[in-house]
Protein backbone atom coordinates (compact mmCIF):
# COMPACT_ATOMS: atom_id res chain seq x y z
CA UNK A 1 0.00 0.00 0.00
CA UNK A 2 1.24 3.45 -0.85
CA UNK A 3 2.22 5.69 2.03
CA UNK A 4 -0.33 8.37 1.22
CA UNK A 5 -3.11 5.76 1.09
CA UNK A 6 -2.16 4.19 4.38
CA UNK A 7 -1.98 7.64 5.98
CA UNK A 8 -5.41 8.55 4.74
CA UNK A 9 -6.89 5.24 5.86
CA UNK A 10 -5.23 5.39 9.25
CA UNK A 11 -7.04 8.62 9.97
CA UNK A 12 -10.39 6.86 9.77
CA UNK A 13 -9.42 3.97 11.99
CA UNK A 14 -7.80 1.53 9.55
CA UNK A 15 -4.59 -0.05 10.74
CA UNK A 16 -2.53 -1.27 7.75
CA UNK A 17 -0.68 -3.67 10.08
CA UNK A 18 -3.97 -4.99 11.49
CA UNK A 19 -2.71 -4.85 15.07
CA UNK A 20 -5.38 -5.89 17.54
CA UNK A 21 -7.95 -6.40 14.85
CA UNK A 22 -10.34 -9.32 14.57
CA UNK A 23 -10.75 -8.77 10.85
CA UNK A 24 -10.00 -6.35 8.06
CA UNK A 25 -11.95 -5.30 4.99
CA UNK A 26 -10.93 -2.78 2.38
CA UNK A 27 -12.85 -1.68 -0.66
CA UNK A 28 -11.37 0.75 -3.19
CA UNK A 29 -13.87 2.23 -5.60
CA UNK A 30 -15.80 -0.92 -6.69
CA UNK A 31 -13.02 -3.43 -5.97
CA UNK A 32 -12.44 -5.41 -2.85
CA UNK A 33 -8.76 -5.26 -1.93
CA UNK A 34 -8.91 -7.23 1.25
CA UNK A 35 -11.40 -9.33 3.15
CA UNK A 36 -9.76 -11.08 6.01
CA UNK A 37 -11.02 -12.71 9.18
CA UNK A 38 -8.43 -13.05 11.90
CA UNK A 39 -10.71 -14.59 14.45
CA UNK A 40 -12.46 -17.86 14.95
CA UNK A 41 -16.22 -17.60 14.67
CA UNK A 42 -16.00 -14.55 12.42
CA UNK A 43 -16.55 -14.77 8.71
CA UNK A 44 -15.70 -11.85 6.49
CA UNK A 45 -16.40 -12.14 2.76
CA UNK A 46 -17.18 -9.92 -0.18
CA UNK A 47 -20.95 -9.85 -0.36
CA UNK A 48 -20.84 -11.28 -3.92
CA UNK A 49 -19.12 -14.41 -2.58
CA UNK A 50 -21.46 -14.68 0.39
CA UNK A 51 -24.42 -14.72 -1.98
CA UNK A 52 -22.89 -17.75 -3.71
CA UNK A 53 -21.96 -19.47 -0.47
CA UNK A 54 -25.19 -19.03 1.53
CA UNK A 55 -28.61 -19.26 -0.05
CA UNK A 56 -30.22 -17.16 2.65
CA UNK A 57 -28.02 -14.14 2.05
CA UNK A 58 -29.64 -13.01 -1.18
CA UNK A 59 -33.12 -13.43 0.36
CA UNK A 60 -32.22 -11.07 3.16
CA UNK A 61 -30.95 -8.28 0.93
CA UNK A 62 -32.96 -5.08 1.25
CA UNK A 63 -35.62 -6.58 3.48
CA UNK A 64 -34.88 -4.04 6.22
CA UNK A 65 -34.26 -0.90 4.16
CA UNK A 66 -36.91 0.34 1.76
CA UNK A 67 -36.58 -0.83 -1.83
CA UNK A 68 -38.59 2.21 -2.91
CA UNK A 69 -35.78 4.55 -1.90
CA UNK A 70 -34.12 5.77 -5.13
CA UNK A 71 -30.66 5.50 -3.58
CA UNK A 72 -31.35 1.93 -2.52
CA UNK A 73 -32.41 1.20 -6.08
CA UNK A 74 -29.25 2.80 -7.40
CA UNK A 75 -27.09 0.49 -5.30
CA UNK A 76 -29.15 -2.59 -6.18
CA UNK A 77 -28.83 -1.79 -9.87
CA UNK A 78 -25.06 -1.91 -9.63
CA UNK A 79 -24.00 -5.38 -10.62
CA UNK A 80 -22.22 -7.17 -9.17
CA UNK A 81 -23.21 -5.98 -5.69
CA UNK A 82 -20.07 -5.13 -3.80
CA UNK A 83 -19.43 -4.69 -0.09
CA UNK A 84 -18.73 -6.58 3.12
CA UNK A 85 -20.48 -9.61 4.49
CA UNK A 86 -19.77 -9.96 8.19
CA UNK A 87 -21.01 -13.03 9.96
CA UNK A 88 -20.45 -13.94 13.62
CA UNK A 89 -21.29 -17.45 14.76
CA UNK A 90 -23.29 -18.32 17.81
CA UNK A 91 -21.68 -17.60 21.15
CA UNK A 92 -18.52 -15.92 19.82
CA UNK A 93 -17.78 -12.77 21.72
CA UNK A 94 -15.16 -10.84 19.80
CA UNK A 95 -13.79 -7.86 21.67
CA UNK A 96 -11.09 -6.89 19.20
CA UNK A 97 -12.52 -4.54 16.59
CA UNK A 98 -13.05 -5.46 13.00
CA UNK A 99 -11.95 -2.74 10.61
CA UNK A 100 -13.80 -2.02 7.40
CA UNK A 101 -12.80 0.74 5.05
CA UNK A 102 -14.48 2.23 2.02
CA UNK A 103 -11.96 4.19 0.03
CA UNK A 104 -12.74 6.39 -2.93
CA UNK A 105 -9.83 6.90 -5.31
CA UNK A 106 -11.68 7.87 -8.48
CA UNK A 107 -14.06 10.69 -9.10
CA UNK A 108 -17.06 8.38 -9.29
CA UNK A 109 -19.88 7.29 -7.08
CA UNK A 110 -18.96 4.31 -4.95
CA UNK A 111 -21.88 1.93 -4.41
CA UNK A 112 -21.71 -0.44 -1.50
CA UNK A 113 -23.90 -3.10 0.03
CA UNK A 114 -22.91 -4.44 3.47
CA UNK A 115 -24.55 -7.11 5.55
CA UNK A 116 -23.87 -7.92 9.20
CA UNK A 117 -25.32 -11.11 10.67
CA UNK A 118 -24.92 -11.93 14.34
CA UNK A 119 -25.97 -15.35 15.61
CA UNK A 120 -27.37 -15.66 19.13
CA UNK A 121 -25.17 -14.56 22.04
CA UNK A 122 -22.39 -13.21 19.88
CA UNK A 123 -20.54 -9.93 20.18
CA UNK A 124 -18.65 -7.79 17.67
CA UNK A 125 -17.24 -4.27 17.38
CA UNK A 126 -16.83 -2.76 13.96
CA UNK A 127 -14.96 0.37 13.07
CA UNK A 128 -15.77 1.62 9.62
CA UNK A 129 -13.80 4.34 7.96
CA UNK A 130 -15.00 5.99 4.80
CA UNK A 131 -12.69 8.37 3.06
CA UNK A 132 -11.35 9.69 -0.19
CA UNK A 133 -7.90 10.02 -1.69
CA UNK A 134 -6.28 13.31 -0.74
CA UNK A 135 -6.00 14.45 -4.39
CA UNK A 136 -9.77 14.22 -5.00
CA UNK A 137 -12.33 16.78 -3.98
CA UNK A 138 -15.36 15.34 -5.71
CA UNK A 139 -17.16 12.04 -5.60
CA UNK A 140 -20.11 10.12 -4.29
CA UNK A 141 -20.72 7.35 -1.82
CA UNK A 142 -23.96 5.39 -1.75
CA UNK A 143 -24.09 2.61 0.79
CA UNK A 144 -26.63 0.22 2.19
CA UNK A 145 -25.88 -1.59 5.43
CA UNK A 146 -28.28 -4.06 6.98
CA UNK A 147 -27.78 -5.59 10.41
CA UNK A 148 -29.37 -8.70 11.83
CA UNK A 149 -28.78 -9.12 15.53
CA UNK A 150 -30.18 -12.36 16.87
CA UNK A 151 -31.10 -12.73 20.53
CA UNK A 152 -28.56 -11.87 23.23
CA UNK A 153 -26.09 -10.18 20.89
CA UNK A 154 -24.05 -7.05 21.18
CA UNK A 155 -22.80 -5.06 18.23
CA UNK A 156 -21.11 -1.70 18.11
CA UNK A 157 -20.70 -0.01 14.76
CA UNK A 158 -18.52 3.09 14.75
CA UNK A 159 -18.37 4.99 11.51
CA UNK A 160 -15.75 7.65 10.92
CA UNK A 161 -16.14 9.67 7.76
CA UNK A 162 -13.55 11.94 6.30
CA UNK A 163 -14.65 13.25 2.95
CA UNK A 164 -13.68 16.09 0.65
CA UNK A 165 -15.55 19.36 0.02
CA UNK A 166 -17.53 18.21 -3.02
CA UNK A 167 -18.50 14.71 -1.99
CA UNK A 168 -22.11 13.59 -1.71
CA UNK A 169 -22.79 10.79 0.75
CA UNK A 170 -26.05 8.89 1.00
CA UNK A 171 -25.91 5.90 3.32
CA UNK A 172 -28.93 3.79 4.12
CA UNK A 173 -28.93 1.49 7.13
CA UNK A 174 -31.37 -0.58 9.13
CA UNK A 175 -31.00 -2.99 12.01
CA UNK A 176 -33.17 -5.75 13.32
CA UNK A 177 -32.31 -6.03 16.99
CA UNK A 178 -33.23 -9.29 18.68
CA UNK A 179 -34.34 -9.92 22.22
CA UNK A 180 -31.88 -8.82 24.91
CA UNK A 181 -29.56 -7.46 22.28
CA UNK A 182 -27.65 -4.18 22.20
CA UNK A 183 -26.92 -2.19 19.07
CA UNK A 184 -24.59 0.79 19.35
CA UNK A 185 -24.28 2.97 16.28
CA UNK A 186 -21.81 5.85 16.25
CA UNK A 187 -21.22 8.33 13.51
CA UNK A 188 -18.34 10.81 13.39
CA UNK A 189 -17.98 13.32 10.55
CA UNK A 190 -15.81 16.37 11.02
CA UNK A 191 -14.64 17.47 7.59
CA UNK A 192 -16.27 19.62 4.94
CA UNK A 193 -18.65 17.58 2.81
CA UNK A 194 -21.11 18.84 0.21
CA UNK A 195 -23.96 16.69 1.43
CA UNK A 196 -24.60 13.83 3.82
CA UNK A 197 -28.07 12.48 4.23
CA UNK A 198 -29.04 9.49 6.34
CA UNK A 199 -31.23 8.24 9.13
CA UNK A 200 -30.52 4.63 10.06
CA UNK A 201 -33.47 2.63 11.40
CA UNK A 202 -33.62 0.24 14.34
CA UNK A 203 -36.38 -2.30 14.91
CA UNK A 204 -36.01 -3.32 18.51
CA UNK A 205 -37.39 -6.53 20.00
CA UNK A 206 -38.08 -7.38 23.64
CA UNK A 207 -35.50 -6.01 26.10
CA UNK A 208 -33.38 -4.81 23.23
CA UNK A 209 -31.40 -1.57 23.14
CA UNK A 210 -30.64 0.72 20.23
CA UNK A 211 -28.21 3.52 20.85
CA UNK A 212 -27.28 6.10 18.23
CA UNK A 213 -24.65 8.81 18.67
CA UNK A 214 -23.65 11.33 16.05
CA UNK A 215 -20.76 13.73 16.26
CA UNK A 216 -20.81 16.30 13.49
CA UNK A 217 -18.71 19.34 12.63
CA UNK A 218 -20.24 21.13 9.66
CA UNK A 219 -17.70 23.48 8.16
CA UNK A 220 -18.02 25.82 5.21
CA UNK A 221 -20.78 24.80 2.81
CA UNK A 222 -21.29 21.39 4.44
CA UNK A 223 -24.82 20.11 4.58
CA UNK A 224 -25.64 17.32 7.00
CA UNK A 225 -29.09 15.87 7.27
CA UNK A 226 -28.66 13.13 9.79
CA UNK A 227 -30.49 11.30 12.50
CA UNK A 228 -31.96 7.98 13.42
CA UNK A 229 -35.30 6.22 13.80
CA UNK A 230 -36.14 3.61 16.39
CA UNK A 231 -39.22 1.41 16.54
CA UNK A 232 -39.72 -0.07 19.97
CA UNK A 233 -41.58 -3.19 18.91
CA UNK A 234 -40.74 -5.47 21.83
CA UNK A 235 -41.76 -5.08 25.47
CA UNK A 236 -39.22 -3.22 27.62
CA UNK A 237 -37.07 -2.29 24.69
CA UNK A 238 -35.36 1.09 24.65
CA UNK A 239 -33.61 3.54 22.37
CA UNK A 240 -31.43 6.63 22.70
CA UNK A 241 -30.56 8.97 19.90
CA UNK A 242 -27.86 11.48 20.86
CA UNK A 243 -26.24 14.11 18.69
CA UNK A 244 -23.45 16.57 19.26
CA UNK A 245 -23.35 19.03 16.44
CA UNK A 246 -21.17 22.02 15.62
CA UNK A 247 -21.80 24.24 12.68
CA UNK A 248 -19.26 26.71 11.42
CA UNK A 249 -20.97 28.18 8.35
CA UNK A 250 -22.57 24.82 7.51
CA UNK A 251 -26.11 23.53 7.68
CA UNK A 252 -27.17 20.71 9.94
CA UNK A 253 -30.51 19.04 10.32
CA UNK A 254 -30.76 16.50 13.11
CA UNK A 255 -33.71 14.18 13.20
CA UNK A 256 -34.45 11.84 16.05
CA UNK A 257 -37.51 9.68 15.85
CA UNK A 258 -38.70 7.17 18.41
CA UNK A 259 -41.90 5.17 18.16
CA UNK A 260 -43.16 3.46 21.32
CA UNK A 261 -45.20 0.43 20.33
CA UNK A 262 -44.83 -2.20 23.06
CA UNK A 263 -45.39 -1.86 26.82
CA UNK A 264 -42.60 -0.85 29.16
CA UNK A 265 -40.60 0.84 26.42
CA UNK A 266 -38.41 3.92 26.82
CA UNK A 267 -37.01 6.27 24.22
CA UNK A 268 -35.00 9.44 24.39
CA UNK A 269 -33.66 11.74 21.72
CA UNK A 270 -31.24 14.52 22.48
CA UNK A 271 -29.40 17.09 20.42
CA UNK A 272 -26.75 19.50 21.64
CA UNK A 273 -25.72 22.07 19.12
CA UNK A 274 -23.05 24.72 19.03
CA UNK A 275 -23.00 27.51 16.49
CA UNK A 276 -19.72 29.12 15.51
CA UNK A 277 -19.75 31.83 12.92
CA UNK A 278 -22.64 31.57 10.53
CA UNK A 279 -24.59 28.46 9.78
CA UNK A 280 -27.65 26.77 11.08
CA UNK A 281 -28.78 23.83 13.12
CA UNK A 282 -32.27 22.48 13.02
CA UNK A 283 -33.17 19.84 15.60
CA UNK A 284 -36.30 17.87 14.78
CA UNK A 285 -37.39 15.40 17.40
CA UNK A 286 -40.31 13.14 16.67
CA UNK A 287 -41.93 11.03 19.34
CA UNK A 288 -44.82 8.75 18.66
CA UNK A 289 -46.56 6.72 21.34
CA UNK A 290 -48.89 3.96 20.26
CA UNK A 291 -49.55 2.70 23.76
CA UNK A 292 -49.86 4.35 27.16
CA UNK A 293 -47.11 2.29 28.75
CA UNK A 294 -44.21 3.92 26.95
CA UNK A 295 -41.94 6.71 28.12
CA UNK A 296 -40.62 9.00 25.42
CA UNK A 297 -38.70 12.22 25.82
CA UNK A 298 -36.63 14.68 23.90
CA UNK A 299 -34.16 17.38 24.79
CA UNK A 300 -32.38 19.90 22.64
CA UNK A 301 -30.11 22.82 23.26
CA UNK A 302 -28.45 25.00 20.69
CA UNK A 303 -26.20 27.89 21.54
CA UNK A 304 -22.87 29.54 21.08
CA UNK A 305 -19.62 29.14 22.96
CA UNK A 306 -20.03 30.41 26.51
CA UNK A 307 -17.88 33.44 27.16
CA UNK A 308 -17.67 32.51 30.83
CA UNK A 309 -15.99 29.21 29.99
CA UNK A 310 -13.45 30.87 27.70
CA UNK A 311 -12.71 33.49 30.34
CA UNK A 312 -12.24 30.83 32.99
CA UNK A 313 -9.61 29.08 30.91
CA UNK A 314 -7.87 32.32 29.99
CA UNK A 315 -7.61 33.13 33.68
CA UNK A 316 -5.71 29.86 33.97
CA UNK A 317 -3.20 31.06 31.40
CA UNK A 318 -4.62 29.55 28.18
CA UNK A 319 -4.75 31.90 25.21
CA UNK A 320 -8.11 32.46 23.62
CA UNK A 321 -7.66 30.08 20.67
CA UNK A 322 -6.47 27.25 22.87
CA UNK A 323 -9.37 27.85 25.23
CA UNK A 324 -11.86 27.75 22.36
CA UNK A 325 -10.54 24.58 20.80
CA UNK A 326 -10.41 22.88 24.17
CA UNK A 327 -14.07 23.69 24.79
CA UNK A 328 -15.05 22.66 21.27
CA UNK A 329 -13.30 19.32 21.43
CA UNK A 330 -14.81 18.82 24.88
CA UNK A 331 -18.24 19.56 23.52
CA UNK A 332 -17.84 16.94 20.82
CA UNK A 333 -16.28 14.27 22.99
CA UNK A 334 -19.37 12.81 24.52
CA UNK A 335 -18.88 9.63 26.48
CA UNK A 336 -20.66 6.86 24.65
CA UNK A 337 -22.13 4.27 26.93
CA UNK A 338 -21.29 0.61 26.44
CA UNK A 339 -18.51 1.39 23.98
CA UNK A 340 -15.14 -0.38 24.46
CA UNK A 341 -12.44 2.03 25.61
CA UNK A 342 -10.40 1.47 22.48
CA UNK A 343 -13.19 2.81 20.28
CA UNK A 344 -13.97 5.71 22.59
CA UNK A 345 -10.29 6.65 22.48
CA UNK A 346 -10.28 6.40 18.70
CA UNK A 347 -13.23 8.78 18.50
CA UNK A 348 -11.59 11.22 20.93
CA UNK A 349 -8.36 11.01 18.96
CA UNK A 350 -10.13 11.68 15.67
CA UNK A 351 -11.79 14.76 17.14
CA UNK A 352 -8.54 16.06 18.51
CA UNK A 353 -6.54 15.50 15.32
CA UNK A 354 -9.18 17.01 13.09
CA UNK A 355 -9.61 20.08 15.26
CA UNK A 356 -5.89 20.61 15.54
CA UNK A 357 -5.61 20.43 11.78
CA UNK A 358 -8.52 22.79 11.28
CA UNK A 359 -7.52 25.54 13.67
Amino acid sequence: MKKEDSEQLTRVGYDPDKHDRSGSFLMENQSIIESLSLYEGLELLPISEAIKKYKWVEKKICTLVSRDDPYVKAVLNTQPLQGAFIYVRQGYKIRLPLQACMYLKLQTAQRVYNMVVMEPNSELHIITGCTIASYLIKGGHLAITEFWLDDGTRLSYTMIHEWAPEVVVIPRAAASIGRNSVFINNYVALTTTRKVQMAPIAYVAENGTAQFSSIIYARDHSHFDIGARAFLNGANSNAQILSRVITEDGTVIVRGEVVGIAPGTRGHTECNGLILGKGSIRAIPMLEAKIDDTELSHEASIGKLKEEEITYLRARGLDEDTARSLIISGFLSARIENLPTYLQNKIDQTIELTLRKGL
Binding site: K306, Y312, A315, L326
Partner: protein, 252 residues
Protein backbone atom coordinates in the same frame (compact mmCIF):
# COMPACT_ATOMS: atom_id res chain seq x y z
CA UNK B 1 12.50 45.37 47.80
CA UNK B 2 10.06 48.15 48.31
CA UNK B 3 7.82 47.46 45.35
CA UNK B 4 4.68 45.74 46.59
CA UNK B 5 3.68 42.58 44.76
CA UNK B 6 0.27 44.05 44.05
CA UNK B 7 -0.74 47.68 44.08
CA UNK B 8 -4.29 48.77 43.33
CA UNK B 9 -4.44 52.49 42.80
CA UNK B 10 -7.73 54.38 42.79
CA UNK B 11 -9.53 51.58 41.04
CA UNK B 12 -13.11 52.06 39.95
CA UNK B 13 -14.99 49.31 38.11
CA UNK B 14 -18.27 49.43 36.25
CA UNK B 15 -20.34 46.75 34.57
CA UNK B 16 -22.52 47.95 31.70
CA UNK B 17 -22.11 51.51 32.89
CA UNK B 18 -23.15 50.67 36.43
CA UNK B 19 -20.45 51.44 38.94
CA UNK B 20 -19.67 48.51 41.20
CA UNK B 21 -16.33 49.47 42.77
CA UNK B 22 -15.33 52.95 43.83
CA UNK B 23 -11.80 54.27 44.43
CA UNK B 24 -10.22 51.10 45.71
CA UNK B 25 -6.68 51.39 47.05
CA UNK B 26 -4.66 48.55 48.41
CA UNK B 27 -1.15 47.18 48.49
CA UNK B 28 -0.04 43.64 49.14
CA UNK B 29 3.67 43.21 49.87
CA UNK B 30 5.45 40.05 48.88
CA UNK B 31 4.83 37.19 51.32
CA UNK B 32 1.73 38.65 52.94
CA UNK B 33 -1.81 37.35 53.12
CA UNK B 34 -4.61 39.88 53.11
CA UNK B 35 -8.26 39.19 53.81
CA UNK B 36 -11.29 40.78 52.21
CA UNK B 37 -14.52 40.83 54.20
CA UNK B 38 -17.86 42.25 53.22
CA UNK B 39 -21.54 41.47 52.87
CA UNK B 40 -22.97 39.69 49.83
CA UNK B 41 -23.08 41.86 46.78
CA UNK B 42 -20.61 44.40 48.12
CA UNK B 43 -18.20 43.87 45.22
CA UNK B 44 -15.56 41.48 46.60
CA UNK B 45 -15.65 39.05 43.68
CA UNK B 46 -15.67 41.96 41.26
CA UNK B 47 -12.43 43.24 42.76
CA UNK B 48 -10.73 39.86 42.34
CA UNK B 49 -12.02 39.58 38.77
CA UNK B 50 -10.74 43.05 37.94
CA UNK B 51 -7.30 42.21 39.31
CA UNK B 52 -7.36 39.03 37.22
CA UNK B 53 -8.36 41.10 34.19
CA UNK B 54 -11.55 39.26 33.29
CA UNK B 55 -13.42 40.83 30.36
CA UNK B 56 -16.68 42.70 30.81
CA UNK B 57 -15.45 45.19 33.38
CA UNK B 58 -14.82 48.85 32.63
CA UNK B 59 -11.84 49.80 34.69
CA UNK B 60 -10.49 53.19 35.78
CA UNK B 61 -7.39 53.66 37.91
CA UNK B 62 -4.32 51.45 37.89
CA UNK B 63 -3.28 47.96 38.84
CA UNK B 64 0.42 47.17 39.26
CA UNK B 65 1.92 43.73 39.65
CA UNK B 66 5.61 43.48 40.52
CA UNK B 67 5.65 47.19 39.65
CA UNK B 68 4.35 46.58 36.11
CA UNK B 69 1.19 48.31 35.00
CA UNK B 70 -1.15 45.45 34.14
CA UNK B 71 -4.36 47.47 34.05
CA UNK B 72 -5.06 46.64 30.43
CA UNK B 73 -3.45 43.24 30.10
CA UNK B 74 -5.56 40.27 29.05
CA UNK B 75 -6.11 37.66 31.76
CA UNK B 76 -3.93 34.96 30.19
CA UNK B 77 -0.97 37.32 30.25
CA UNK B 78 -1.59 38.15 33.91
CA UNK B 79 -1.82 34.44 34.64
CA UNK B 80 1.55 33.91 32.97
CA UNK B 81 3.04 36.77 34.96
CA UNK B 82 2.01 34.95 38.13
CA UNK B 83 -1.52 35.83 39.17
CA UNK B 84 -3.89 32.97 39.87
CA UNK B 85 -7.49 32.89 40.93
CA UNK B 86 -9.73 30.31 42.61
CA UNK B 87 -13.26 31.16 41.55
CA UNK B 88 -16.19 31.35 43.91
CA UNK B 89 -18.48 29.69 41.38
CA UNK B 90 -16.44 28.24 38.54
CA UNK B 91 -18.26 27.16 35.38
CA UNK B 92 -18.85 23.58 34.36
CA UNK B 93 -17.04 22.82 31.13
CA UNK B 94 -18.53 19.74 29.54
CA UNK B 95 -16.20 17.25 27.96
CA UNK B 96 -13.04 18.93 29.21
CA UNK B 97 -11.30 16.61 31.61
CA UNK B 98 -9.66 18.07 34.68
CA UNK B 99 -6.50 16.09 33.93
CA UNK B 100 -6.34 17.52 30.44
CA UNK B 101 -6.58 21.10 31.67
CA UNK B 102 -3.92 20.43 34.31
CA UNK B 103 -1.59 19.10 31.64
CA UNK B 104 -2.03 22.27 29.62
CA UNK B 105 -1.26 24.38 32.67
CA UNK B 106 1.64 22.34 34.00
CA UNK B 107 3.49 19.76 31.95
CA UNK B 108 5.00 17.98 34.94
CA UNK B 109 2.77 14.93 34.97
CA UNK B 110 4.09 13.11 38.06
CA UNK B 111 3.79 16.39 39.94
CA UNK B 112 0.16 16.72 38.97
CA UNK B 113 -0.60 13.12 39.93
CA UNK B 114 0.90 13.67 43.36
CA UNK B 115 -0.87 16.99 43.95
CA UNK B 116 -4.18 15.48 42.89
CA UNK B 117 -3.66 12.59 45.25
CA UNK B 118 -2.90 14.90 48.14
CA UNK B 119 -6.16 16.72 47.54
CA UNK B 120 -7.99 13.40 47.15
CA UNK B 121 -8.81 14.21 43.56
CA UNK B 122 -7.17 11.35 41.68
CA UNK B 123 -10.44 9.93 40.31
CA UNK B 124 -11.54 13.43 39.33
CA UNK B 125 -8.70 13.82 36.85
CA UNK B 126 -10.72 11.70 34.42
CA UNK B 127 -13.91 13.64 35.02
CA UNK B 128 -15.33 16.65 33.20
CA UNK B 129 -14.39 19.94 34.77
CA UNK B 130 -16.70 20.74 37.70
CA UNK B 131 -19.42 18.56 36.22
CA UNK B 132 -21.38 16.92 39.02
CA UNK B 133 -18.75 17.86 41.62
CA UNK B 134 -19.84 18.50 45.19
CA UNK B 135 -19.21 21.93 46.74
CA UNK B 136 -16.10 20.63 48.48
CA UNK B 137 -14.78 18.93 45.35
CA UNK B 138 -15.24 22.09 43.31
CA UNK B 139 -13.25 24.13 45.81
CA UNK B 140 -10.50 21.50 46.02
CA UNK B 141 -10.26 21.42 42.25
CA UNK B 142 -9.85 25.20 42.16
CA UNK B 143 -7.01 24.90 44.65
CA UNK B 144 -5.43 22.07 42.67
CA UNK B 145 -5.47 24.20 39.51
CA UNK B 146 -3.84 27.04 41.43
CA UNK B 147 -1.18 24.77 42.82
CA UNK B 148 -0.44 23.61 39.27
CA UNK B 149 -0.13 27.24 38.18
CA UNK B 150 2.16 28.14 41.08
CA UNK B 151 1.27 31.83 40.97
CA UNK B 152 3.01 34.52 43.02
CA UNK B 153 -0.30 36.12 43.87
CA UNK B 154 -3.27 33.97 44.85
CA UNK B 155 -6.72 35.43 44.57
CA UNK B 156 -9.03 33.18 46.55
CA UNK B 157 -12.74 33.78 46.33
CA UNK B 158 -14.40 32.10 49.31
CA UNK B 159 -12.21 28.99 49.16
CA UNK B 160 -13.99 27.43 52.13
CA UNK B 161 -17.63 28.28 51.49
CA UNK B 162 -19.85 25.22 51.30
CA UNK B 163 -17.02 22.94 52.39
CA UNK B 164 -17.21 20.60 55.39
CA UNK B 165 -14.71 21.02 58.21
CA UNK B 166 -12.55 18.09 57.22
CA UNK B 167 -12.12 19.46 53.72
CA UNK B 168 -11.52 22.97 54.99
CA UNK B 169 -8.65 21.47 56.92
CA UNK B 170 -7.31 19.84 53.77
CA UNK B 171 -7.68 22.96 51.63
CA UNK B 172 -6.31 25.37 54.20
CA UNK B 173 -3.27 23.20 54.91
CA UNK B 174 -2.52 23.02 51.19
CA UNK B 175 -2.82 26.80 50.96
CA UNK B 176 -0.58 27.25 53.96
CA UNK B 177 2.00 25.08 52.27
CA UNK B 178 1.66 26.91 48.97
CA UNK B 179 2.03 30.24 50.73
CA UNK B 180 5.16 28.95 52.46
CA UNK B 181 3.80 29.76 55.86
CA UNK B 182 6.34 27.43 57.43
CA UNK B 183 9.11 29.69 56.19
CA UNK B 184 10.25 32.94 57.70
CA UNK B 185 8.48 36.03 56.41
CA UNK B 186 11.53 37.25 54.54
CA UNK B 187 11.73 33.94 52.66
CA UNK B 188 8.13 33.82 51.54
CA UNK B 189 7.52 35.07 48.08
CA UNK B 190 3.88 34.23 47.51
CA UNK B 191 1.05 36.52 48.55
CA UNK B 192 -2.70 36.14 48.68
CA UNK B 193 -5.89 38.14 48.74
CA UNK B 194 -8.59 35.98 50.25
CA UNK B 195 -12.33 36.53 50.49
CA UNK B 196 -13.89 34.72 53.41
CA UNK B 197 -17.38 34.44 54.80
CA UNK B 198 -16.65 31.90 57.46
CA UNK B 199 -13.38 33.15 58.90
CA UNK B 200 -12.09 29.57 59.20
CA UNK B 201 -9.18 30.35 56.98
CA UNK B 202 -7.87 32.78 59.61
CA UNK B 203 -7.10 29.83 61.86
CA UNK B 204 -4.68 28.44 59.34
CA UNK B 205 -2.99 31.40 57.76
CA UNK B 206 -1.35 34.23 59.51
CA UNK B 207 -2.98 37.11 57.71
CA UNK B 208 -1.32 40.49 57.88
CA UNK B 209 -4.20 42.73 57.04
CA UNK B 210 -7.96 42.74 56.55
CA UNK B 211 -10.33 44.96 54.63
CA UNK B 212 -14.07 45.44 54.84
CA UNK B 213 -15.84 46.19 51.62
CA UNK B 214 -19.28 47.72 51.72
CA UNK B 215 -21.17 48.90 48.70
CA UNK B 216 -18.13 48.88 46.43
CA UNK B 217 -15.85 50.77 48.79
CA UNK B 218 -13.21 49.66 51.23
CA UNK B 219 -14.66 51.02 54.43
CA UNK B 220 -11.82 50.10 56.69
CA UNK B 221 -8.75 48.00 57.10
CA UNK B 222 -6.93 46.60 60.07
CA UNK B 223 -5.93 43.42 61.87
CA UNK B 224 -8.03 40.67 60.27
CA UNK B 225 -8.81 38.77 63.45
CA UNK B 226 -10.15 41.87 65.17
CA UNK B 227 -12.26 42.71 62.17
CA UNK B 228 -13.61 39.18 62.00
CA UNK B 229 -14.43 39.15 65.73
CA UNK B 230 -16.43 42.32 65.34
CA UNK B 231 -18.23 41.14 62.23
CA UNK B 232 -19.16 37.94 64.03
CA UNK B 233 -20.65 39.86 66.92
CA UNK B 234 -22.46 42.65 65.14
CA UNK B 235 -22.48 41.66 61.49
CA UNK B 236 -21.98 44.17 58.77
CA UNK B 237 -24.93 46.30 59.83
CA UNK B 238 -22.72 48.83 61.54
CA UNK B 239 -20.13 48.98 58.81
CA UNK B 240 -21.75 52.04 57.41
CA UNK B 241 -20.68 53.85 60.54
CA UNK B 242 -17.27 52.34 60.60
CA UNK B 243 -16.14 49.10 61.97
CA UNK B 244 -12.66 50.28 62.59
CA UNK B 245 -13.82 52.89 65.02
CA UNK B 246 -15.46 50.21 67.11
CA UNK B 247 -12.38 48.07 66.97
CA UNK B 248 -10.27 50.93 68.16
CA UNK B 249 -12.73 51.71 70.93
CA UNK B 250 -12.61 48.11 72.06
CA UNK B 251 -8.84 48.29 72.21
CA UNK B 252 -8.91 51.30 74.46
Amino acid sequence: MNVPLLKVDNLSVSIDGKQILKDINLEIPQGEVHILFGPNGSGKSTLLHAIMGLPGYEVRGKIYFHGTDITHMPPEQRARLGIGIAFQRPPIIRGVKLGKLLELINSNKPDIQRMAEELQLTPHLQRELHYGFSGGETKRVEILLLIAQKPDLLLLDEPESGVDLENIDLIANKLRHLLEKEKRISERHRSALIITHTGYILNYLNAAKGYVMVDGRIKCSGPPRDIWETIRKVGYSLCEECLLQRINEKRR
